[in-house]
């Protein structure tokens, strides 16, 4: 045997070995084949093996789940525990990955599966402490309201029963496969944590920080000018009609005196905004805090209104609701029809939280919008210069408490976060100054039990009683019932501070307008008692409307200092729609698709006047002006005038407030609402905010808008080319998302579709449209953009989107018995094992 004769074979062998090695070990190829191999590839996530019968531990009796042609489960159980178990089972079957990612977002556990890119979110969430708050809340409910805790535990059991089945059948949803992990079991804390995240995202208004930037830089008068305490033009369109008195109680100080006071001054805040040394430090600290915290709910909002039986064309009370939340895929909402011995209810749940949040039963209907009231304060802490681990409070030094949070990071070492807290709450910045945040949701809150009782309510009294437990997020609960009643109430824990006024009188104020001194004296002393919460029952006008405008008028018993209401545009518009002799169901639907732009209507004469004063012969500017002159102020996607209006707004902001804030180093200051700018323009057209001349700036803004439109879009300025809605998958993956689609509406139209000021898609809007006619058998209509299933190959992945885009509604079938379901496609029976 000689080596020489074997050289070709050896070479072939070597080449083959290298090739085999390369193919078998190349990461990319291996990943591809792992995902796509026929035995345990991703295919099993698309083909769920759903049986018609399951024997499961934890059930007391048999539960029947009938799934209709839209994928909506109609669940029939003999008791509430089994009902909640079945909701958990169905949520997990259709939305398990969404539930997992949402609880991780709330608990600060995203980095565990997404790696270090998600660490920033986790650090913020762990600092705020939603998970910690969820744990104490769950424990409190377990000890004090065990019957409610058992329902949430039954829900968790239902989720976990499905997780076991999915793992056994290799049926975990696609995203688990793509991200290569398995879900942990669900717990009561997970449901509460996600509820806390929803609460946080609806109440984390950073206005006290943002307003303080302006007050620190320009003085309190300028801040109060562009951020008035009581928004201009909203006196006649408040959520609660009337002058604000509640059950004969009214504020004991002249509200007009209060509104003129300097609420940034030392008597109000304990801080000296006029001290340049302090102000500079404060600006640096706030900028740092805002960078840490990220965005606040600028794009969120909602509409709700109710019409009494006496005013409705059919003689029945009617209710409409459309919460403007993230238009995500999978949708936030999951439709259900629930039946047990004491629950018969239809509506939408949040995947991860079992009760129906917005819906109706056989007697009542309810809808929610955000009250926008302040329940989050920021305190400037005094740190001991000798010992930075101590802070001053109520006359003595206290040690800063440190909570150690370990964040697991995929493919990295765990990140250890030390959260420093004072008596107020977590410290969010220690740069230049130390600022802590105090939010009502950081403590035990009981909305998780309130909403269960709302589902069971049979009349207005039950409904109000249920809401006594509602803490956060404070909401306008709109109500209508089969007896013809309508009502609205704003339940929530609204913190009150006792303030001594310059005239030595003392009053309770709700919320704050700036950061506060943390050394004591500016603390929450009590909460608004339930009986004095803003509410209205069967008002004379025959309707109620709550599209995030000012809650209640000036004579409300407590002075509302902190509230971040939306512009009153939608409130004005819906008041016009509803303020007619008779309102029909079609009017209710028309209201939800209405795209009239109130601000454009209010501003148009000023812009035209500006162009008369400072004309331009440019043909594009002439075109823009003519479009505005001949416009009916509706933001239709096939029109050109909305583009001119929106670009004028962007250009105007850019030439005024954005420019000014940038020059002053306070870019994160809040852009004032158009209605407040309008008030300033009418009363102080030569304000420095307008570069000394509102009309010249307004004219230049139109010229800029026309130039921009011409350069970017040529001669076709159609709104739909600029304004598009995009339903982004929670993963951000385009392949799993929908759109972009040309879209009607805009900022502050009833059909809300706000896009970022300088480009981007509409990503927030009516996340659920519901209209209920409270006849003897209530008739509900609704639609949300998305579908019941998160499985991208399911027919119910995005099947509602077309209906939503075209303003159509599905009939919501509150089927009190299975025989009322005419489009059943599958029946699943769960029985105890």
């Amino acid at each position: 045997m000689t080596f020489k004769g074997k050289i070709p074979s050896v070479i072939i062998l070597a080449i083959c070995l290298i090739l085999v090695f390369l193919i078998a070990t190349t990461q990319l190829l291996n990943t591809l084949m792992t995902y796509l191999n026929p035995i345990n590839g991703i295919y099993s996530s698309a083909n769920l093996s759903i049986q018609s019968k399951y024997s499961l531990k934890g059930l007391i009796g048999e539960v029947k789940i009938i799934i209709d042609s839209r994928g909506v489960p109609h669940i029939y159980a003999n008791n509430d525990k089994d009902l909640f178990f079945a909701i958990g089972f169905m949520h997990a079957k259709d939305r398990l990955w969404q539930m997992d990612i949402q609880r991780r977002a709330a608990e600060g556990r995203l980095a565990e599966i997404l790696g270090k890119n998600a660490l920033k979110n986790d650090i913020v969430m762990r600092t705020i402490g939603l998970w910690r708050a969820a744990i104490i809340t769950a424990n409190y409910i377990k000890e004090n309201y065990p019957q409610y805790w058992e329902l949430y535990q039954a829900y968790a059991d239902g989720v976990n029963a499905y997780i076991d089945i999915a793992i056994k059948n290799n049926n975990l949803p696609l995203m688990f496969r793509l991200l290569n992990y398995k879900p942990d079991y669900w717990s009561v804390v997970d449901s509460i944590a996600f509820a806390k995240l929803m609460s946080w995202s609806l109440t984390n208004f950073y206005e006290p920080l943002k307003f303080s930037l302006v007050a620190a830089k320009l003085g309190s008068q300028e801040a109060l000018k562009i951020y008035p305490i009581f928004p201009h033009f909203q006196e006649n369109v408040t959520v609660i009609p009337g002058n604000g008195t509640i059950k004969g109680n009214k504020i004991n100080v002249d509200p007009d005196y209060l509104l003129k006071l300097d609420w940034f001054s030392e008597w109000a805040t304990g801080l000296n905004f006029s001290d340049p040394n302090f102000s500079n430090k404060l600006i640096e600290a706030i900028n740092n805090a805002l960078n840490f915290l990220g965005e606040d709910p600028e794009y969120l909002g909602s509409n709700a209104w109710a019409v009494s039986a006496s005013k409705s064309s059919n003689g029945y009370a009617m209710l409409a609701d459309d919460p403007h939340l993230g238009l995500q895929i999978p949708s936030l909402w999951y439709e259900v029809d629930l039946h047990s011995n004491d629950i018969n209810c239809y509506g939408v749940t949040l995947a991860g939280i079992p009760p129906i949040i917005i819906g109706f039963n056989n007697k009542i209907a309810w809808g929610l919008t955000n009250t926008q009231m302040s329940v989050l304060d920021f305190y400037v802490e005094k740190i001991n210069p000798q010992d930075p681990s101590m802070y001053y409070y109520n006359g003595s030094w206290h040690r800063i408490q440190t909570i150690r949070e370990t964040i697991n990071v995929k493919n990295e070492k765990p990140y250890v976060l030390l959260v420093n807290t004072t008596i107020h709450g977590p410290i969010i910045t220690s740069k230049s100054l130390t600022i802590s945040a105090k939010w009502v949701g950081m403590n035990v809150t009981l909305e998780a039990i309130a909403i269960i009782d709302v589902m069971k309510a049979n009349n207005l009294s039950d409904f109000f009683n249920a809401l006594k437990h509602w803490d956060v997020p404070s909401q306008n609960f709109m109500y209508a019932d089969i007896y013809g009643n309508i009502a609205v109430i704003e339940p929530g824990r609204f913190p009150l501070r006792l303030v001594k006024l310059p005239n030595n009188q003392t009053i309770y104020v709700l919320g704050s307008r700036s950061v506060l001194n943390g050394t004591g004296g500016y603390e929450w002393s009590r909460f608004v008692p339930f009986e004095l919460l803003p509410h209205s029952i069967n008002p004379q006008q025959g309707y109620l409307a709550a599209p995030n405008q000012m809650s209640v008028n000036k004579y409300y018993p407590f002075f509302i200092l902190g509230g971040w209401w939306d512009s009153g545009s939608r409130a004005h518009r819906i008041n016009i729609i509803l303020n007619k002799t008779e309102v029909s169901p079609e009017d209710m639907m028309e209201g939800q698709r209405d795209v009239f732009q109130w601000d454009a209507y209010s501003y148009s004469s000023l812009i035209i006047k500006a162009m008369n004063m400072y004309p331009s012969n440019d043909p594009d500017v002439q075109k823009a002006l003519n479009l505005l002159k001949n416009w009916n102020f509706t933001m239709k996607k096939n029109m050109e005038a909305p583009s001119v209006w929106w670009l004028w707004v962007a250009s105007f902001y850019n030439m005024t407030f954005i420019k000014k804030f940038k020059e002053l180093g306070i870019e994160r200051a809040k852009l004032p609402h158009l209605e407040n700018i309008l008030y300033l323009a009418l009363n102080e057209p030569n304000s420095t905010w307008f570069n000394g001349n509102f009309y010249l700036t307004a004219s230049q803004a139109l010229i800029n808008a026309a130039k921009y439109l011409k350069n970017k879009y040529g001669d076709d300025w159609t709104w739909g080319k600029i304004h598009k809605v995009y339903f982004e998958h929670l993963s951000g993956l385009k392949a799993l998302s929908f759109g972009p689609y040309d879209e009607d509406g805009g900022d502050d139209t009833l059909m809300a579709a706000k896009m970022p000021l300088f480009g981007g898609y509409v990503t927030h809007g009516p996340s659920w449209r519901m209209i209920v006619i409270m006849s003897q058998k209530p008739q509900g209509y609704g639609v949300y953009p998305g579908g019941q299933s998160e499985n991208p190959v399911s027919n119910h992945y995005g099947d509602f989107i077309d209906y939503w885009l075209n303003y159509k509604y599905y009939k919501l079938n509150l089927a009190n018995s299975p025989s009322e379901i005419t489009d059943a496609v599958l029946t699943i029976t769960l029985s105890p094992s």
Partner: protein, 117 residues
Amino acid sequence: MKFKFLLSIVVIAVIYYVLVLLVKDWRTAIIAGLIGGTLYKERLKSFLAGLIGSFIAWFALMAPILFNEANQKLLSIFSSIADFPLEIILALIFLLPTILGGLSSLIASTIRKILEK
């Protein structure tokens, strides 16, 4: 001769099919190829037997998946996520195990040839 060729194809196909089911790893084509390849000294035929055998086994496993509408939809979504044409992904799914089987078979027959010389 033909019989031996067919035999090695069948051996490779059966071994690969069983191994994928048991071990749940597409790279078991290496083992199947190495076993089947020892039946042959002729390198080209051995390579072809490995190719064909592993292709048959893989096709038998993949066919029910590819003829399912939901899976076709899923593959198309996967190609969008991966930002890679579906045709290339499909080609890779079939080519990789096939080539691995062929090369492994060739390795086995080459080793046998070296040892027998």
